[in-house]
Symmetry: C2
Subunit: 118 residues, 2 copies
DNA sequence: ATTGACCTTCACATCAATGTGACGGTTCAA
DNA sequence: TTGAACCGTCACATTGATGTGAAGGTCAAT
């Protein structure tokens, strides 16, 4: 599929799709005429990227995370560098911290709403 | 306390403390000579703001949320505009969506780590 | 009285994520 | 063959969160 269709499908502008490619979050083949060609799974990947961006992650962080999150299916994980593991642990802890802050604040909103409505 | 002390206490630069004031996230009185004077609780508030910013919220969203999150203690909630309630419900749902995305991805990292280490 | 450590405002710089639009090529249908 | 609807690159603009630093006021200690 070409970039316009992918943009339509995902709700992400062409400009941003090119940007994500530049940031190495997605890949695109090229047809003879130079047009980008995307596989269907790219749409899912773009949606995943949007979710993470909307959740406050940077493209840089996302770039680090995505390979691990998607390589899930492939069972061949023969060897992972210790630094990579440490990076992932740091990212995991960072996400956990974010989750905790957001959860606390969401619960505070909820209890405020409860008190007001009750 | 003055701005330098607050910055020291919270690890947030003077520049940003002024910025947060400009964005109406915190308030400061002024002493005769024009210096900002902060109450002690401001430090907690600043830490809360940092948490939310680090978790990916904008100052604009934080400005909307903070009054509700802190007015918690005061039991006098005589009347809340329906639009305010709706705004809070939207914010709550937004936070929940963020939390879900982050949780899914953290769990994916964790299971990757488990698989690699196992 | 001077110096150093504060403070003020203001303005300009930067970075990431995003928009907008110019200029030009490709393809397809009328 | 021409025009619409795509595509490409490139560059400049904007917004939000931040840094940096200039020019000047205040204050306390020397």
């Amino acid at each position: 599929m070409r970039i316009g269709e992918l943009a339509e499908l995902t709700g992400v502008s062409r400009r941003l799709l090119r940007y994500y490619e530049e940031q190495e979050l997605i890949k695109a083949c090229r047809t003879e005429n130079g047009y980008r060609a995307y596989s269907l799974e790219t749409a899912d990947r773009v949606r995943q990227i949007r979710g993470l961006l909307d959740a406050g992650l940077s493209t840089r962080a996302i770039k680090q995370l995505l390979p691990c999150l998607n390589g899930s299916k492939s069972i061949d994980i023969p060897w992972v560098a210790p630094e990579t593991m440490e990076m992932l642990e740091r990212e995991r802890d960072g996400l956990t911290a974010r989750i905790d802050v957001l959860t606390r604040n969401r619960d505070a909103i909820q209890s405020y709403l409860d008190r007001v409505a009750g």
